[in-house]
């Protein structure tokens, strides 16, 4: 499933630690980057690749917020609603998204392009309100910038 190049990366990760278990998180990130989420198959694959028990991999996958066992939107809109963002308009962010693409927290658009997630503080309090879209942070959001962003993502497809 991983290419030769990716397998090299796995070897590099393994070399950072005295045990293969420690490489599980990094390899799961790689797997999710490639396939969008971590299926049961993926858990078995990562476990076999690193020669660690499947239950360890499952235990790690289910613990962390960022590993998804089910499909998410191609663009994950993760809206911080924690205190600093709440004080500066995270309600507006969620409402603007809802008005624009018709979905709220925990939902995905029918075309699978967007899903909306409630994020805990993402360390962007000085530039609130904010959301991340996949790995990119979008800060100091206004209704205009949110609409522009979603339009741009739609155009990209």
């Amino acid at each position: 499933m991983f290419s030769e190049e990716e397998l090299k990366q796995v070897e590099e990760l393994k070399s950072h630690y005295p045990t293969n278990l420690s490489a599980v998180m990094g390899v799961l990130h790689m797997y999710q980057d490639k396939y969008g989420h971590i299926s049961d198959e993926g858990i078995t694959y990562v476990a076999n690749l690193l020669e660690v028990p499947e239950e360890n991999v499952l235990g790690v996958v289910t613990f962390y917020e960022m590993y998804h066992q089910h499909k998410t939107g191609k663009y994950k809109l993760q809206v911080c609603t924690n205190v600093s963002c709440m004080l500066r308009g995270s309600d507006m962010v969620l409402q603007t998204i809802k008005d624009k693409i018709g979905i709220g927290i925990g939902e995905m658009t029918d075309d699978g392009l967007f899903s909306v997630h409630e994020a805990e503080c993402l360390g962007s309090c000085g530039t609130a309100p904010m959301m991340s879209v996949n790995k990119d942070y979008h800060e100091n959001l206004t209704p205009e910038t949110i609409n522009e962003l979603i339009d741009a993502l739609k155009a990209k497809g």
Binding site: H16, Y17, P18, T19, N20, L21, S22, A23, V24, M25, G26, L28, H29, V52, N56, G59, V60, F63, Y64, E65, M66, Y67, Q78, T81, N82, V83, S84, M86, L87, R88, A119, E120, C121, L122, G123, S124, C125, G126, T127, A128, S132, K135, D136, Y137
Partner: protein, 418 residues
């Protein structure tokens, strides 16, 4: 404080580039350290008065002195960049604008503590910042400042490796023993202490865990001396510090200034005051876990560990959250409690169950079905979480509720009749 010149985040363009960092004296402080005995390096850090910037403000030099030197097992260093405490967004600035200062700090700490390898733990959501730090580490390796090559570069017997470990979205991993379990690749439940990490840490080996900002102070102390450092800011908690100011202020952001600044000066002068010149209802001085202060008790309060302790709060991460007079405190507390419920690792019953119970009661209050006795119930649940869990996250979940009810009972009762 306009005369203060930042040293952790100085105004030097492209300082994140290794050549620019070198031009400004970079990687000379590790050279200087290698010319001293490891214990003398620890001595200087002790003498400087540096205290941890991650939350507990524990004296760094003292923490370092707990590490064994017999060398039976390898020693490790973990650099905590999990930065997940709501209201904290400072370490990210170091990753982005001065990563080599942190790397050089790791090398100096590494030499002082005789470590084999250091792991920089960065929260998973900071993917872009992980890449920035990975690039900086790779550049430092390429220049021969890290790893086997440093023996040749510096003419020393010492060498250590530096790796970046990316998290995956769990607040609990900012707790040091949880962080170590996360690196080990098991479910990151906090460990029971003792034994402490300096005895039994990563893979059972002696380990020190320091915050990113703490480590970034180290090269500056070696460069300029302990006397320079301890004369900055508050006497018992000296040095430059990164204040993160957010919420209802005109100019939110991270500001590097001396410790011990007046909270009112930070809010009104540094961060430009409250929009619409509204009054302040509440300030949380050090990230959402720290006891909140009333707007009418801010006069004369200084931002250092000792002053905040005196007034019944704590410095935490120096993430200052400001809330104006129109803020709905029930809603704020509900959101904070929601956070701790989601982030509770589930290991200890008081935290796992207690946060859920508190959240249910808060939703009752938000729905307008609350009574004053619900505030007593919340206070009682919070008190029963506090001190009854393996890690400090139990206290972190309890304190905002407990202290807000104690300090803002009038406001909360008024909000009951919403």
């Amino acid at each position: 404080m306009s005369e203060y010149q930042p040293v952790i985040l100085p105004d030097i363009p492209d300082l994140d580039r290794i050549d620019v960092y070198e031009q400004h004296g970079g990687y000379q402080h590790i050279r200087k350290s290698l010319g001293m005995a490891p214990d003398d390096v620890i001595g200087i850090v002790k003498e400087s008065g540096l205290r941890g910037r991650g939350g507990a403000a524990f004296p760094t030099g003292l923490k370092w002195s707990f590490m064994p030197t017999d060398g039976e097992k390898p020693n490790y260093l973990c650099v905590n960049g999990d930065e997940s405490e709501p209201g904290s967004f400072k370490d990210r600035q170091i990753f982005e604008f001065n990563p080599h200062l942190m790397i050089e700090g790791i090398l100096i700490a590494g030499y002082a503590l005789r470590i084999k390898a250091a792991y920089i733990y960065i929260r998973g959501e900071y993917e872009k910042w992980v890449q920035m730090v990975e690039k900086a580490v790779a550049d430092a390796y390429a220049k021969g400042y890290v790893g086997e090559k440093m023996k040749e570069t510096f003419g020393t017997d010492f060498s250590c490796e530096i790796y970046v470990h990316r998290g995956a979205g769990a607040y609990i991993c900012g707790e040091e023993s949880s962080l170590m379990n996360s690196i080990e690749g098991i479910r990151p439940y906090p460990r029971v202490k003792p034994p402490f990490p300096a005895q039994v840490g990563l893979w059972g080996c002696p380990t020190t865990i320091n915050n990113v900002e703490t480590i970034a102070n180290v090269p500056l102390i070696i460069e300029r001396g302990a006397d320079w450092y301890k004369n900055i800011g508050a006497e018992k908690h000296p040095g430059p510090i990164l204040y993160g100011i957010s919420g209802h202020v005109n100019k939110p952001g991270v500001y590097e200034l001396p410790t011990g600044m007046l909270l009112t000066e930070l809010i009104h002068d540094v961060a430009g005051g409250v929009p619409g010149d509204k009054k302040i209802k509440m300030v949380i001085p050090g990230g959402s876990s720290m006891p909140p202060l009333r707007g009418d008790q801010l006069e004369g309060v200084r931002m250092d560990a000792e002053s905040l302790k005196e007034i019944g709060s704590a410095i935490g991460t120096a993430g200052i959250m400001v809330m104006d007079e129109d803020t709905d405190l029930t809603r704020i507390l509900t959101r904070i409690t929601h956070f701790y419920k989601v982030e509770s690792c589930g290991q200890c019953t008081p935290c796992r169950e207690g946060t859920g119970w508190m959240l249910k009661v808060f939703h009752r209050l938000l729905d307008g079905e609350g009574e004053p006795k619900d505030l007593d119930l919340l206070h009682s649940v919070a008190k029963n979480i506090e001190g009854n869990t393996v890690c400090a996250l139990g206290d972190a979940a309890a304190w905002p509720v407990k202290f807000t009810i104690e300090r803002f009972r009038d406001e909360l009762e008024a909000e009951l009749s919403r």
